[in-house]
């Protein structure tokens, strides 16, 4: 049964990864036209901080899988780090919208907010899953939900590299 669920999750993540691939590709497709706005709008340092939180949460997730006795503690840490990233980046997005440099009227905000929004939705689902896991205490599901959580982190590395690092480096 466990293999079955793991394989099912792996196949879902495969198809989801291709979905993100196409959204990132669309960002690159319009990159030339939106690069100027991107450089003016994005704040590398702030997002790098939140990114560090998200990546650390992958480590705490791994601890939750690896040490069953401290599972609840590490799940709590993971959720906290996830929420910090979610709120942090959410505030960032609100700032960009408020600054009005790239309100809803540009190619940059078209591709950027599509990517950011879809990733944020994935993250939110992940937080909800982890919260349910913490409450229900089903340790069998931990490994599978961990796969999903690592995936959300890996996708963010891709988005962060293409959207942020490529713009400034």
């Amino acid at each position: 049964m466990r293999d079955r669920v793991r394989l099912g999750m792996a196949l879902f993540l495969l198809t989801d990864a291709i979905f993100f691939f196409f959204l990132i590709l669309a960002f690159i497709y319009f990159r030339d036209a939106s690069l100027h706005t991107a450089a003016l709008t994005l704040d590398l340092r702030v997002t790098a901080t939140w990114t560090a939180c998200l990546l650390t949460s992958s480590l705490s997730m791994w601890r939750a899988v690896a040490s069953p006795r401290r599972r609840r503690l590490w799940l709590g840490v993971t959720i906290t780090l996830g929420v910090v990233f979610f709120v942090g980046q959410g505030t960032e997005y609100l700032r960009i919208l408020r600054d009005g440099i790239a309100t809803t009227q540009g190619l940059f905000s078209t591709t950027f907010f599509t990517l950011a929004g879809v990733h944020g939705l994935h993250l939110l689902i992940g937080i909800v899953l982890l919260a349910i896991l913490l409450m229900v205490g089903n340790s069998a599901a931990t490994g599978v939900i961990a796969m999903y959580w690592y995936f959300v982190g890996v996708v963010w590395i891709a988005i962060f590299s293409v959207v942020y690092l490529w713009t400034f480096l």
Partner: protein
């Protein structure tokens, strides 16, 4: 109540098939509205706006609410039986996929009540789909409904792949899988690789329409071409997704009614893998009319022609299976043989399209309509009819009536060819597809009238088919467990199979476990590896 709350794979499979049949009748009526409007030059049966809605809904319905669901229905019903399992890997997800699919279909049709159905064709090219040019709610319904349907098909595909990988009975190795299972396994993987680009383009379209994004609006810096690329990266594999399970059915039916094992099992199985890979490198042949550059065109033309090779391998294998067999021409087998002929015609016109100058001449004409119907109706739907006559006894315990079956077969063959063969000529003399009406040019009226009369005959054939299902379900001759003296595991279960499918799964030592049971003196496994 059990039908709504139940989660068994057989019940879910039947629900898939019934809902597909219902939408097939609706989509067929939409086709008849089109044929009535086109029967003679300058007719005004419906308004031009209604005509656009009808052809859009016809295409969308037939692809997303008929072909994909009915194929899913057959696979979730048959695959656990064929591999000796008691259910799918995730029965609850299986039922969820069906209800999601049905809700997607209902949502799509609600658009009629909400102020107008989608009207931009089934591939919804930008920028026509932008809010500026399609202000009504139709395309929002279209995009949201297809998003739901996409999620449903992805869930079903995951379920199917996991089932085949993890739930096979002892002895059912990958090299002994029935070809129907093989085709569906490859198909499930294709769905997982192809659907994401559709989902991504729908998300982008909804962003454009609802949130003022500008992905596809050239006037605002977006790119309509991006939609075409993304849509066809999904759209071309989708063509194979709609035929692979049908290939699987043909690969089960032809051997049983020829009393011979399939010729070249490995070639049939591995050529599918080849087609699956190639299908991701040919999408731009739907876009030859776009100025893409000579190198680009040559690469995609060559790749598209290349696909004819593994497809030809399959047709060759089926034909070679027939050769020298003691053929039983049941209705099921008649449809299977007709499939070979009709599908080959559709395949040949497909190769013609891979030739760039021919495509330039014929793209967006009725030649395309003829080609795609030869593949999808002459191919997939003929195979589905063969499959229904073959497995209906397993589903219900009753045989379908053979006399009504013959009527059904001949009416459909005559009606189908009369409708669509003439459309090749209409395309060649220049009639564009998706036009509301046409002037009285020499030949156009007569050919269109033949096509419309053919469609009428086809409808009558479908009517006989539905009658046959209803009558035989009630009064059909009892089928027994194994009416065709077949070889795959589903025929070892009772008809219809009991909950849990098997009391004891028969031993699987070769590709034809039931042959081994029936012929202990000359079992297949003695020379396994040779054939």
């Amino acid at each position: 109540m059990n039908w709504i709350a139940g989660i068994g794979h057989k019940r879910t499979g039947i629900l898939y098939m019934l809902s597909a049949l219902l939408f097939f009748l609706v989509g067929g009526m939409e086709a008849m509205v089109m044929r009535a409007q086109l029967a003679l030059p300058n007719l005004k049966v419906v308004t031009p706006q209604m005509y656009n809605q009808v052809f859009t809904m016809h295409g969308t319905t037939m692809i997303f609410l008929v072909v994909m669901p009915v194929l899913t229905g057959f696979s979730v019903y048959l695959i656990p039986l064929m591999i000796g399992a008691s259910d799918m890997a995730f029965p609850r997800l299986n039922a969820f996929s069906f209800w999601l699919q049905l809700c997607g279909g209902l949502l799509l049709y609600l658009s009629f009540a909400a102020g107008g159905a989608p009207d931009a064709g089934w591939f919804s090219y930008a920028p026509l789909t932008e809010r500026t040019y399609s202000p009504g709610p139709g395309l929002d319904y279209w995009a949201l409904a297809i998003l739901l349907l996409g999620a449903s098909f992805v869930a079903a595909a995951i379920n199917l792949v996991v089932t085949v990988v993890t739930l096979r009975a002892p002895g059912m190795t990958i090299k002994r899988l029935p070809l129907f299972v093989w085709m569906n396994l490859v198909n499930g993987l294709m769905i997982l690789f192809a659907l994401p680009s559709l989902v991504a383009s729908l998300v982008m379209l909804l962003g454009d329409r609802l949130l003022h994004a500008r992905f596809f609006d050239a006037a605002q810096g977006g790119s309509p071409l991006l939609w075409q690329h993304y849509f066809w990266i999904f759209g071309h594999p989708e063509v194979y997704i709609m035929i692979f399970p049908a290939f699987g059915m043909i690969s089960e039916i032809i051997p049983v009614f020829s009393r011979k094992p399939i010729f070249g099992y490995r070639f049939v199985a591995l050529s599918s893998v080849a087609i699956a890979f190639l299908s991701y490198g040919v999408w731009a042949h739907h876009m030859f009319a776009v100025a893409l550059g000579r190198t680009f065109l040559s690469v995609f033309a060559a790749a598209s022609m290349l696909i004819a090779v593994p497809t030809g391998v399959k047709v060759f294998s089926w034909t070679a299976t027939l050769f020298g067999g003691s053929i039983r021409l049941t209705t099921s087998m008649l449809f299977a043989v007709a499939f070979l002929l009709e599908f080959t015609i559709g395949g040949l016109s497909g190769v013609a399209f891979a030739t760039v100058p021919i495509d330039w001449q014929l793209t967006d004409t009725y030649f395309v309509v003829a080609h795609l119907h030869y593949v999808l109706f002459g191919g997939t739907v003929f195979a589905l009819f063969a499959g229904v006559y073959y497995w209906f006894p397993k589903f219900t315990g009753h045989l379908l009536d053979e006399t009504l079956g013959r009527w059904h077969f001949w009416l459909v063959v005559v009606g189908f060819n009369a409708t669509f063969f003439v459309q090749h000529f209409l395309g060649l003399i220049g009639m564009p597809r998706r036009v509301y009406t046409y002037p009285d040019l020499p030949g156009w009226g007569a050919l269109n009238l033949v096509s419309t009369i053919g469609a009428g005959i086809l409808v009558f054939g479908i009517f006989v088919f539905v009658c046959n299902i209803l009558v035989s379900f009630k009064f059909g001759a009892p089928a027994g467990n194994d009416p065709w003296n077949a070889w795959t595991l589903e025929w070892a279960a009772s008809s219809p199979p009991a909950p849990g499918n098997f009391e004891r799964v028969p031993p699987v030592k070769s590709r034809r476990p039931l042959w081994d049971l029936k012929h202990p003196d000359a079992p297949d496994w003695v020379h396994e590896g040779v054939v």
